[in-house]
Symmetry: C2
Subunit: 209 residues, 2 copies
């Protein structure tokens, strides 16, 4: 399927039928998220993948009781770094050095980022990390559709309750978005046959020639 068709095929699925997505597909979707580019290559977020039914039932009330929390095959949670600490920056750079070799440019770049994120507030660092997670969300949504797997991006949840249930504070993470993946239950999905609505080009794109 062409990408343009994939983009029209996908929609924020509101009801899923519980069918499991095979592990190869899940792996490719997760890998697409992992390969998403992020600011300075820090990848300042992690993903938590839940297929466990009991845990998803427990989470459902704090995710707006959405059907897809339990109707999906896997629930993928995007959790941003609560802060960009020197330890985290150093860990990323240590890996880059190990894989590419060191250089003066890398040494300077590391120092620049260590200073930048120490000077910024924790809130600014978290918000910046959260934005990067959304690039990953974009990659994940396309990757799912490319596998003909339905996906529902979600922000309507109680992040503190989710974080607590998943023990994220101890890991220095905060949930910012989710993506349920599975297969549509077309008969029970009010959105499946509705026209996809997008702002017209003239209202969304300004071209300066």
């Amino acid at each position: 399927m062409e990408l343009s068709d994939i983009l029209l095929w996908r929609y924020a699925t509101k009801a899923m039928n519980g069918q499991k997505v095979n592990s190869d597909k899940i792996e490719r979707i997760l890998d697409a998220i992992r390969y998403a580019p992020t600011s300075n290559g820090l990848q300042p977020f992690e993903i938590i993948v839940i297929s466990n039914n009991e845990l998803r039932e427990k989470l459902q009330p704090v995710i707006n009781n959405q059907q897809v929390v339990t109707g999906s095959s896997h629930l993928i949670i995007f959790a941003a770094w609560d802060n960009v600490t020197p330890e985290r920056v150093n860990r990323v750079f240590d890996q880059v050095v190990a894989e590419r070799g060191n250089s003066q440019g890398l040494v300077d770049y590391r120092q620049f980022l260590l200073m930048k994120h120490t000077e910024q507030t924790t809130d600014d660092n978290f918000n910046h990390a959260a934005r990067q997670a959304y690039i990953g969300l974009g990659f994940g949504l396309i990757a799912a559709a490319n596998e003909m797997v339905d996906a529902t991006p979600m922000e309507g949840f109680d992040p503190l309750a989710v974080d607590k249930e998943l023990g994220l504070p101890a890991k220095g993470l905060r949930s910012v978005a989710m993506m349920a993946v599975g297969y549509r239950d077309a008969e029970n999905d009010w959105l499946v046959n509705l026209k996809k609505v997008r702002r017209p080009v003239a209202d969304f794109v300004t071209v300066l020639k």
Copy 2:
């Protein structure tokens, strides 16, 4: 090309050769961004596309003097709504009603969003809008690579200076990210042959079975 290959092919191009990307490809890239899903379908951002050389030369100093600002074919700027106002929410819902017809559900949904965004601070509304723009950035980056067009995501710029130059404050917009699209100048790009580094799966993905 398979999506997995596309993800490996793309990289944050550091030098481009000035070659123009044909308009069909640009249109498909912009359409992918426009078709990206956003929270409640508000699409709370716009994109400004600049091919004009003079304007790009003028902007280059406030975009960290990056070569791709002028070396690219087009510079695509993601500008988030500076606030989510009742006018903007109503405009989106008016379009949905026009295209799908009205329903009590839509009436209630509109009221809920009008209330939510009035209660939230301007900063919260802007930050929320900015995150949505990053989903679009993710879609745009994949769409470019799918056309074998190189792309450079960028955050390292002076947003106030860019906004002023483009007259964004008068439009209620704030630049949050950019994407230069064009063709790599492999001989002058220090990054082109370096190994793509990503955090290992074990460090990035937690699976709860």
